[in-house]
Amino acid sequence: MLSKLIRRTHMYLALFLTPWILMYALSTMAMNHRDFFAQLRGGSDASYAMESAGVYPGTFPPGAKPREMARRILRHLGLDGTHYVQRAPETGHLTIYRESPLVTRRITYTPADRRLVVEKAAFRTPSFLEELHRRRGFEHDYPLEDAWGFIVDIVIAGIVFWVLSGVWMWLQLAGTRRLGLLFAGCGLALFVVFLSTI
């Protein structure tokens, strides 16, 4: 009964988390070969195309912090969500990066004339994968971001469970112990070599 429970949990958890594991595998390869993919597209910088321009109709309270201003601007644009903001110390320009897996936008706000420019980053598969890989939740004020962070924690728990349950299932298969030990020993030895040399 216990054996069946462990085997089924191993399998169903893996089936549910398949998209995440596939994403982490592909994104790790994209990052491991970042220079190659950058060369393929002829440069590493993201390219942005103008999406819209306008004037921000609201005002900010005196001494408003960039984070608060960014949130108001994003709400005005209907783009509220995970973002990073920078303020140029001399001009007061705000640059907001609204990070979404499928579309990353750069919003620039010029305080002198309250001008807003929204630009859209060109979609690139390696960047899309890397953005998903690096996304981890619990760092922003958005519940959806925390939900993603929770799923990432489930993936982590899943990985640890697969390792433990995998070893347990291997030990149940008496016919595979010797060869299994050889593979496990070789993997561990190689890992230790790396750990002590680089």
Binding site: V163, V167, G187
Partner: protein
């Protein structure tokens, strides 16, 4: 050996060989996912960096210079070697970060003051694990660094092989197809929803 048996053994032995990498990526992901919490654990007043030396030094690094070549020169002059990265925060400073799995040293060259400062990082388990997690790519010149990057690729291919072989094994267990399809579809739906709403 039948194809079915081959797939089962591939799933198992690949898992056993790559177990240290999979465990490393799983455990270290917790540190990324809950970075603030773990950072708080080391909030003991001890500095993360300790000055090893601060001495006069002067070289020309033009803005158009190859940063890796400049980094190599500074490392050589400082009597250090190993995997490294460079960072130029502004026209007056040039940083070289040299590291292995256990330790890290940063060299800060201040062109305007003509000084080179070397600082050693305090050992922290969380830094070690996140450093191992993030290490990869083929930008270093040593064979062992490239070999590590190859094992990173191998771990990614391993994950893809687990997915493919796992799906095959699930499909062969006819009594689990309905629940498995539900788990797979549930995961895929959640993933797609996150892509759309984040």
């Amino acid at each position: 050996m039948t194809f079915h048996r081959f797939v089962r053994r591939l799933h198992l032995y690949l898992g056993l060989f790559l177990l240290p990498w999979f465990l490393l990526y799983g455990i270290s992901s917790v540190l990324f996912s809950h970075g603030r919490y773990f950072e708080g654990l080391y909030n003991d007043g001890k500095p993360n960096w300790t000055v090893r030396f601060d001495r006069p030094y002067r070289i020309e690094i033009p803005a158009s210079a190859d940063q890796r070549a400049a980094g190599e020169r500074i490392l050589r002059d400082a009597g250090l070697k190993g995997a490294f990265g460079t960072y130029r925060p502004n026209g007056r400073e040039f940083h070289v970060y040299v590291y292995d799995f256990w330790s890290a040293t940063q060299l800060k060259y201040y062109a305007d003051r003509g000084r080179l400062v070397a600082e050693d990082r305090r050992f922290r388990l969380d830094h070690m694990l996140t450093g191992m997690h993030a290490r990869g790519g083929f930008t270093q010149s040593s064979f062992l660094d490239d070999a590590w990057a190859v094992t990173v690729d191998l771990a990614c291919l391993g994950m893809i092989a687990w997915i493919a072989s796992g799906l095959y094994m699930w499909w062969k267990l006819s009594q689990t197809r309905a629940w498995g399809a539900l788990a797979l579809a549930g995961g895929a739906t959640h993933f797609a929803l996150f892509l759309l709403v984040l």
